[in-house]
Amino acid sequence: MALNLFSRKRATRPAASGMGRGAGYVPAGETALPDDPLKRALQQGRLGLLLHVPDDAADPRQSEAMRRRAAQQFDERFGMVPEGLASITTSVQDQPGAPEVDHEIEAFLLARHAVTNEDYQFFVDDGGYDQLELWPEDIWPHLVGFKDHSGAAGPRFWRKGRHDKRLARHPVVGVNYYEAAAYSEWAGLCLPTSPQWQMAASWRVRSEAAADRRYPWGDALDLERCNIWAAGHARTLPVNACPSGAAPNGVLQLIGNVWEWTRSDFDCVDDQGRRVIGEMPMKCIRGGAFDTYFPWQAVSAFQSGLTLLTRAHNVGFRCASNIVDEC
């Protein structure tokens, strides 16, 4: 049907993340990977697996060398969050005086950056969506729906299984909770819990002061340090942007840019004690995003919930690891 719905000036819509939709899509090329499985895993960033690689009877020194290199990359890519306390409100209204539950947090490691498109590409190229052992069995029928714009397996905003190479260092978005969890497991890591995330952002370490921070950098909002709506970017930024917003351990962008999946259930009640539920089960998301309008929804203590299969334009994730062993 021919239409002549020609407006005088055509509207343009902002990008879901990064580049404008009308600006063309530049698919990322394929990355050559070594044949050696250990070297390949190192380049793919599957650090959690490499830390536990057993000694190769034929060449134990190579195994040891791989573990050392993985540990070195861990130091570079992860920051240690010390033990402390996280007080999580149980009220959805989150007013002063609302009931809270205290969580003792043991020290753990948290990725300095959210998982990027470039990182996630390794997972897709490795056939992550076909490795059923990474996915809960009751999700298997839904895997067919975890497609990108062109129908290939991948995050929602990709095309033909490739990310836009101009967004290589931006956080991957358009992934639901299961995709975030599957990637983390593939990498030998895990998603942080909501209390762990809050501990990393509030830095409520054990001390006589027992103070926690409103933001990773302190208590005052500073739009130079985070990418929320008021900062005016209206899109995601690379994961190393806003370096002055880092936590004391160098972890970046806990506040703003993208919301982050945690592995904790969203469990809140209203002021009448009635449980708040979604159309399906929800997990906690944290941190706020580039389009978070209210600054108080982008603070260390604020938590929201999102249904597990939502593949939002402003939700990504970062990985964590226990210091001792498995998650």
Binding site: M282, D291, A312
Partner: protein, 293 residues
């Protein structure tokens, strides 16, 4: 649009042309604030009326409240100044509720309960083109009643008749779920506008109409291509636009990032809780309308 300015013997309402005593605060006929007339007189410029129409519960109040608040914060290179304290009421109500994870109360059907906003808007760096915008928050029930029985709420007719542009809000979530209600309401609304502006020669109506799909977070494909969404899910609306309107554009918007619900087994009412905000596509329809003025 001709503006009726105040006279020495009283103030003539901008919306319905009813003469009112000079000391009156609101029109005795339609309850529109007469401060709008006085502010327009002070600016010595014809204000442009932008009407926001839609069915009950489509999100007019939330949309307009966020829009006005964003404009006040100079979003998208707009500079917007509220004229009169009354112009800030709506944004204050919406923001204060949403900030506490609550939706604002339903807009009352009584005209004297409606919020009016009068803003002076310009693009930053283009102070020569200042536009005065009047945007009332109208009850969806009043709109529906007027469509069912014209002249029930004559103010709706007057508003549309004086509008320089219209934002027609349509519930994308309902449409995506297969409900025909949004399509039928939009068809009625456009037919109503058509009957007001139609000429003997049956030329297409020039009034700019921005069709805004609200709650589009529920249906992400709506954001990808609102036109295709309209064609696929609201075919009556689509055909009416094609036949009778010369200046139409389609948009998707959402303000809620995630929605929760609570209500016990014995409760009749389930309460929706906006868990966090994620503004998407709020300014673009307004920007387009302003560009058409």
């Amino acid at each position: 649009m001709a503006v009726t300015f105040a006279t020495t013997s009283g103030t003539t309402c901008l919306i319905c042309d009813t003469p009112n005593p000079s000391e009156a605060q609101s029109c005795k006929e339609c309850s529109a604030p007469l401060a709008i007339v006085r502010d327009a007189l002070a600016q010595d410029r014809d204000p442009n009326l932008v009407s926001i129409m839609g069915d009950s519960n489509v999100g007019k109040t939330v949309y307009l409240g966020f829009l006005l608040d964003m404009l006040s914060q100079r979003a998208h290179n707009f500079e917007a100044v509220p004229k009169g304290a009354y112009s800030v009421d709506l944004a204050q109500i919406v923001i204060s509720h949403m900030a506490h994870r609550m939706f604002p109360p339903k807009t009352a059907i009584e005209m004297d309960e409606w919020c009016w906003a009068y803003y002076q808007v310009c693009r930053r760096g283009r102070a020569s083109k200042i536009i005065d915008l009047v945007m009332p928050d109208i009850a969806g029930e009043a709109v529906a009643a007027e469509l069912e029985s014209p002249a029930t709420f004559r103010i709706i007719q007057n508003l549309l008749g004086r509008s320089s542009g219209t934002l027609l809000l349509v519930d994308a979530a309902l449409a995506a779920n297969g409900s025909a209600q949004p399509d039928f309401f939009a068809l009625k609304m456009l037919s109503y506008i058509d009957s007001m502006f139609t000429t003997k020669k049956r030329r297409k109506i020039e009034l700019p109409v921005a069709v805004v799909f609200t709650k589009a977070d529920y249906c992400p494909t709506c954001f990808d291509d609102p036109r295709s969404f309209a064609q696929a899910n609201l075919n009556r609306l689509w055909n009416m636009c094609d036949s009778r309107f010369a200046c139409v554009e389609f948009f998707a918007c959402s303000v809620i990032g995630s929605l929760g619900y609570c209500g016990g087994e014995n409760d009749d009412v389930v309460t929706s809780i906006p868990l966090h905000t994620a503004l998407n596509g709020v300014l673009e329809p307004f920007e387009w309308i302003v560009d058409q003025l």
